[in-house]
């Protein structure tokens, strides 16, 4: 009986810990963050079985990952170091470098992120990975959004397992799931960005890379400016797979409701997508300064 009560208490405490990690609500006027990292940051977890998202690794470097409302948000971060998240279990990994990753309502949002070092997210089983550098994602509602992201280092996401709905997202000076009036986006990549997903039996997985781009948003005026002189690579090396999606959006507009759009893009590096070896309705899409519907 005591053992049962103890187990209940342990479970309750564990649930409270997870809830506390998620319970970050804001009601503030101005938020200004500024972070500079020149040393290394590592998160390592060896979690056991559980549904994807049961465990979470969250890392905000000058980032805002709290839902709520604010008037002005300015997030700035410069990383010239090693930043690593690793997990051996089912996990959700989020990493914001000078960005916003939350359901946040604000008047002005300015995000600036620079990555000079090696930024890595890796997980062995079912995964949700979100990595934003000078980016806004997670349902941001703002009047004006300015996003600037620069990658001169190496940014890597790797996932390995048997996930059915794995997601890998890397945003550089980009926005996703955002409502706003005026958006000004700038992304520059002179380093390397790589997403790798390998699995024995995958399905409905997605890989998204956005550089100075906008996706799934409702805004008025959009200006994008993106330059990629480095390497952008997506690899989905799955065994049995279906409805897998690979998307590279550089300075483009996709899935958005807008009034005026102006895009300017230069891709001088290599952009590569390698799809799975099987499966139905797989999609490989590159939008390089284009405006596209769903």
């Amino acid at each position: 009986m005591k053992i049962a009560r103890l187990a209940v208490l342990v479970c309750a405490a564990s649930a409270c810990a997870v809830a506390a990690a998620d319970d970050k609500s804001l009601d503030t006027r101005n938020i200004t963050t500024h972070a500079t990292i020149t040393s290394s940051i590592t998160q390592s977890a060896g979690t056991g079985a559980g549904a994807a998202g049961d465990s979470k690794q969250a890392l905000e470097i000058g980032g805002v990952a709290a839902s709520g409302s604010a008037r002005d948000v300015t997030a700035t971060a410069n990383v010239a170091a090693l930043v690593t998240q690793t997990s051996n279990g089912r996990n959700e990994q989020t990493l914001a470098i000078g960005g916003v990753d939350a359901a946040l309502s604000a008047r002005n949002v300015v995000v600036n992120g620079t990555a000079l070092g090696a930024i890595t997210q890796s997980a062995d089983t079912r995964i949700v990975q979100r990595l934003g550098i000078g980016a806004a994602l997670g349902s941001v509602d703002a009047r004006d959004v300015i996003a600037n992201g620069t990658v001169t280092g190496v940014v890597t996401q790797t996932g390995k397992g048997n996930g059915l709905n794995d997601q890998q997202n890397i945003l550089v000076g980009a926005v996703k799931d955002t409502s706003g009036r005026n958006l000004n986006l700038s992304g520059n990549v002179t380093g390397a960005i790589t997403q790798v997903a390998t699995s024995g039996a995958n399905g409905a997985n997605s890989q998204d890379i956005l550089v100075g781009a906008i996706d799934n948003s409702d805004v008025r005026d959009v200006t994008t400016n993106a330059t990629v002189i480095g390497l952008v690579t997506q690899i989905s090396g799955t065994g049995l797979s279906g409805t897998n999606r690979q998307s590279v959006n550089i300075g483009g507009v996709r899935n958005a409701s807008i009034r005026d759009a102006s895009t300017f893009v230069l891709v001088g590096g290599g952009v590569t997508q390698i799809g799975p070896v099987g499966g139905d309705q797989n999609r490989q899409k590159m939008v390089l300064g284009g405006v596209e519907g769903r």
């Binding site: 590569t272 309705q281 899409k285 519907g293």
Partner: protein, 300 residues
Amino acid sequence: MKLRQLAVAVLATCAALSAMAQSITDGSSNTILPGSLTRSGVNVTGNINAQGTVTGTVTQVGGGVGNLANGSNTPGGRAGSTIAGGQQVRVGGVAGDVNARNITATGSATADISQTRIGTLTGGNEQLVAIGSVGNTTANDINVRGNVVGIITQIGAAGASGLNTQAVEVGSVDDTTANNVTADGVLGATVTQTSSNTLSLLNEQVVAVGAARRVEANNLTLKGTVVGAITQNEVNVGATAISQVLNVGGANNAVARNIDATATVRGLVTQVSANVGAGGNLQSVVVGGVQGTRAGGPQN
């Protein structure tokens, strides 16, 4: 009695094949599949200025076993395609249920772009490279310009294949309604499309340079220039209703009041359809011409 029934069956089959061949004699299918023009997408009410430049290499590799329905989820490539998936590269340009006032699209590719799909059983797959082009769009004025100096390669091969599309669009307009359309495409390099399958049905290869397909406009001004080489290869065993369409500075299946089509070809243009057991196939080339187009309307 049995001989009469057999004769009727043969005649019915011939009639069906004839109708199928006739439906694609204008270089494109007139059948727009449901949803292609009504799918929710980008909702634009203002102006679009989309510019893209590629000087690096772009590579897409797909395929596999049982690789089905990997076609376009975004209208603008093969119009009417409603299936999800495919391989698409869009440099500059606009596509996908867009309703805008003015569109200016500029695309340039000076490096190589390649798409490869090799599988054992494939169907409904799409390979699209669009450089400074507009598709599935409604606007007042559309001005597109595409320039390609790099090499574009599309390869599709499978044991059994059907409803696959390979499309390259350079400064072209497809599936679009507008008041004024100006399209200018320059191809200064090599475009090669290769489709090789054991069983092949209803596959399509399209190359459009400064061209208009399935467009409704008052004024249509087209200019296409090919200095490089364009090659379309269909090598199949058992191929039916395969179409190869090449349009340089021309109008194809369009409705317009005024059409001004100009084309210059100084390179090699080759269409090869080397099929065993083939029927109902089409090879169409338009150079500064008009094919399947109704001039004189609309009047407003």
